[in-house]
């Protein structure tokens, strides 16, 4: 069975400092992994995806994530936070044995202080 654990429900950083949002997954198969961002009262926007190609994945808005199979992790990072990064972030794993069904993490709310 697939599952996703986001290790922090809230993260607070200062503008211009690095961002680290942590995600661990459990998968019976070679997983596809995703990070989505959701701004208040908006839908989810795809930030980046890992689908068994390069383990370091670059996404939009300067975000990147590294797939580490040995640690079953897919942490999201950004070198320098911007005020506009304040949002909720979801780590997702898909299950290829069940029509690529999505399993969502519980979300991490990122606060960016001026």
């Amino acid at each position: 069975a697939q599952s996703v654990t986001q290790l922090d429900s809230h993260v607070s950083v200062s503008e211009g400092t690095p961002v680290l949002l942590r995600c661990n997954y459990s998968s019976s198969y070679s997983p596809s992994l995703f990070w989505y961002v959701q701004h208040p009262n908006k839908g989810l926007q795809l930030l980046l995806k890992y689908t068994s190609a390069a383990t370091l994945v670059k996404g939009i808005n300067g975000f990147e994530a590294e797939f580490k199979k040995s640690e079953t992790s897919f942490h999201l990072t950004k070198p320098s936070a911007h005020m506009s990064d304040a949002a909720e972030y979801f780590c997702v794993v898909s299950d290829p044995s069940v029509w690529n069904k999505f399993y969502f993490g519980s979300g991490t709310k990122l606060n960016v202080k001026p």
């Binding site: 795809l46 029509w99 969502f104």
Partner: protein
């Protein structure tokens, strides 16, 4: 760019009303999904469709039905709305075999 649109951003209905939530995608995607999102419960799959007129129950289908008469349109129906269906409803689509889903802006439904 993929575009998924939902018919309303905000909707207020009364208990017992029949409610239709519409979702349209413009990228010829085979798969379409309806989720609801609630604080503390996260995103939960209500129904999905892998083709016209085809549907599968998700994790929480009770109290909902769906309709997919055209490939680009997927409707969620609340036959008799109840207050516990107050929620944010998100539609998504994907193109086989790629797994990534593209989400609409959401409909915040309040049932009074």
């Amino acid at each position: 760019d993929v575009k998924v649109t939902q018919s309303s951003r905000y909707l207020v209905k009364r208990t017992g009303e029949k409610v239709f939530l519409e979702c349209v995608q413009d990228m010829d995607h085979e798969n379409m999904f309806w989720y609801r999102q609630d604080p503390g419960l996260g995103l939960r799959l209500i129904y999905f469709s892998y083709d016209v007129k085809m549907k599968e129950k998700g994790d929480i289908p009770e109290g909902y039905s769906v309709s997919r008469e055209k490939k680009e349109r997927f409707s969620l129906i609340l036959e008799s709305a109840s207050t516990n269906q107050t929620s944010m409803y998100l539609c998504a689509s994907s193109k086989r075999p790629a797994p990534e889903q593209f989400f609409g802006p959401g409909t915040r439904l309040t049932v009074l």
